[in-house]
């Protein structure tokens, strides 16, 4: 299949019965990009990927490859490669035959099949395992077979659906680097699905953050990390402190919010007027412990969790608000601490009425899954 310069998704949607698994997805993918689809479980990531692959018929919208409409093509005609979550290796075929499968489907000459398969096996360093069956391989090796199988066809687009989620932590880190390396060295265009924000941040050129079937934000890792477009995105991106508050005075690019008996300044994200319901978001690592005597927020350390170099702590402010913080300082439960929040790191989001507020932590925990 020939390559392309640009792939456009226009209002792509997929409905199951009466439920929209994916709605109104607009996205343009440039050749060579590494795009990550990111979001919590059930948000429609896999649905989006499968629509793109042609494995799931759209129920709305269209997909264009340069000027060619492709959403009516069956998957085998689109020429995309895909790496599946459990790899979906053919269990009855050897590593070599798995990798050669796509080439054989194209009825290429035997010689060429052999040559390209061998090259792909070398690329993923599985020379010693070429004639094993997938069941005889470790997870990491299977992973690499899946990647080789998808890329040996030199597809114009590679789709990956949480390819690392079944690996253990150590291996996951290593394979991440490996995938990114292959993307670059083969000059692939990649769409990568994950629910792990760290994974998305570290691998992608651009992130597409999704929630309940809809795109929340599209941007570079840094944009999404530092300027989440809503408190939901912030929640997902590690802003563990989400505080439902009422906006105080708004002045230029700062809005005052009441916290712990005092008032602190935050950066408004979107239209925020005095008296509005807002959600203030800040990361634990941006909540710093000061010394006792500095004026400002005060609270009592409730929980200390050792995490190696740092501790994660939970602080109860004087007004009963709980804040999560991270610190390298040695603290103990019960200690009184004063707190500063790095300027510009408290993001203040408008909230759409009472329903659209972060729930108390545990309750939300229960309902979120």
């Amino acid at each position: 299949m020939s390559g392309f310069n640009r792939l456009r998704l226009e209002g792509v949607g997929r409905r199951f019965g009466t439920a929209d698994a994916l709605a109104g997805l607009d996205l343009t993918i440039e050749r060579g990009e590494f795009i990550a689809l990111l979001g919590p479980s059930g948000c429609g990531k896999s649905t989006a990927l499968n629509c793109l692959a042609g494995l799931l018929p759209l129920t709305a919208g269209s997909i264009w490859q340069d000027d060619r409409r492709i959403d009516t093509l069956p998957p085998e005609k689109r020429g995309f490669g895909m790496v599946f979550q459990n790899y979906a290796l053919f269990p009855h075929l050897t590593v070599r035959d798995n990798i050669a499968f796509g080439l054989r489907m194209q009825r290429l000459p035997k010689d060429e099949v052999r040559r390209r398969t061998t090259a792909a096996i070398e690329m993923v360093r599985l020379e010693d395992h070429a004639s094993k069956l997938p069941g005889q391989l470790s997870g990491g090796q299977q992973q690499r077979v899946a990647i080789a199988r998808a890329t040996v066809l030199e597809p114009s687009l590679v789709l990956m659906d949480e390819p690392l989620s079944n690996l253990d932590a150590k291996l996951r880190l290593e394979m991440r680097t490996e995938i990114r390396r292959l993307h670059q060295s083969l000059g692939l265009t990649t769409v990568y699905v994950t629910h792990d924000q760290e994974e998305a941040l570290s691998m992608a050129d651009r992130l597409v953050v999704m929630r309940q079937g809809r795109v929340q934000q599209i941007g570079t890792p840094e944009e999404v990390h530092t300027k989440p477009s809503s408190w939901h995105v912030a929640d997902f991106m590690g802003y563990r402190n989400l505080l439902p508050l009422t906006a105080g005075r708004v002045s230029g690019d700062a809005v005052a919010v009441p916290l712990g008996g005092t008032t602190i300044d935050g950066v408004p994200q979107g239209e925020v007027a005095t008296g509005d319901d807002v959600v203030a978001a800040v990361r634990p690592e941006d909540v710093k412990l000061g010394s006792e005597d500095i004026a400002g927020l005060k609270g009592r350390v409730e929980v200390v969790e050792y995490q190696g170099r740092e501790c994660a702590i939970e602080i109860m402010l004087d007004d009963g608000t709980r804040l999560h913080a991270r610190t390298e300082r040695k603290t103990e439960a019960g200690e009184q601490v004063s707190i500063t929040i790095s300027p510009g790191r408290l993001l203040v989001y408008p909230s759409d009425g009472a329903a659209d507020r972060p729930a108390a932590e545990l309750a939300s925990a229960g309902l979120a899954v």
Binding site: R15, F16, G17, P57, L58, T59, A60, T72
Partner: protein
């Protein structure tokens, strides 16, 4: 184009696509070879051979104690047999869950009777349980009895033949249901202080119950349609004159297909009543995931 596309969109939403064509052969098959003959039999049953009203055949059946009683006769054989098969299967299957030496051999041995078929079983029962068969001989030489017990050519002969062919089937089904129940549930109950019998009664049994209902139904269906063994090891003129025999006689001894169809329909209906009762009971049970293999 956009019209057909949106139409396809709407069908896709409901899961209707080209794959469904694969159902076609089986659907045609079931319509032609099952539904049509069934309906044909049904309509035939409303056309009495010797005239009379639409329901004359049914009336004839129910007016005639000799015929009507076959329903009871059949139920009296099939319900206890099915029940015993299921109840005996539970403790044995329960024992067989773990791994032990010879398990495969034992399950294999249990499969063998399925292949014996009713006719061989009948012949074997006649030989073995007959008045001079080994069974009676052993009992008599042990002086447990003085005269041979009559276990064939009566109710018991049929009953035993249903056990021999039905029990292994029930056992295998129960075993597969049982292995679908996550063993950690019982372990969890143990850590909560439940004794062995409490674990069985409170955890395993309730989770197994829907499977038992299904097993009961399947063995009941087998037992309810008992035919050759009712003739061969039973007393087809008397205590084992089952309903399938009545249907058979109507069709092939009296050549009254309409009447035979009516009896067949009654037979189906009676069976359906039992099936529905059991299913209603089953519907009240917990039937979701049992945490096991599925």
């Amino acid at each position: 184009m956009s019209n057909t596309l949106s139409w396809q969109h709407r069908l896709a939403e409901r899961g209707v696509d080209r794959k469904l064509w694969l159902l076609l052969p089986a659907t045609i098959f079931v319509l032609l070879l099952f539904i049509y003959p069934f309906l044909y039999g049904l309509s035939l049953s409303f056309q009495p051979m010797n005239g009379g009203g639409v329901l004359a055949n049914y009336q004839k059946f129910f007016d005639d104690a000799y015929q009507r009683d076959t329903i009871l006769t059949t139920l009296k054989i099939s319900l206890p047999a099915a029940l015993l098969n299921v109840l005996a299967a539970v403790p044995i299957a329960f024992r067989m869950r773990g791994r032990f030496r010879g398990k495969r051999l034992l399950t294999t041995l249990l499969v063998v009777p399925i292949t014996l078929g009713t006719v061989l079983t009948a012949q074997g029962l006649l030989n073995y349980l007959g008045p001079t068969g080994w069974f009676n001989r052993v009992l008599m030489s042990l002086h447990l009895i003085d005269d041979p017990v009559r276990l064939t050519n009566n109710y018991w002969g049929v009953f035993f033949s249903l056990i021999i062919t039905g029990f292994p089937f029930a056992f295998l089904l129960v075993l597969s249901y049982l292995s679908g129940i996550d063993p950690t549930l019982e372990r969890a109950a143990a850590t909560l202080g439940a004794s062995r019998s409490q674990r069985f009664r409170r955890i395993t049994l309730p989770l197994l119950a829907p499977g038992l209902a299904t097993t009961f139904l399947l063995t009941f269906v087998l037992a309810f349609s008992v035919f050759p063994s009712a003739v061969l090891v039973g007393n087809p003129a008397g205590s084992t004159r089952v309903i399938s025999l009545a249907a058979y006689q109507a069709a092939y001894e009296q050549y009254d297909y309409a009447y035979a169809s009516a009896i067949a329909m009654i037979m189906g209906a009676v069976e359906l009543v039992v099936v529905v009762i059991v299913l209603l009971w089953r519907a009240r049970l917990y039937t979701g995931s049992t945490g096991g293999k599925g």
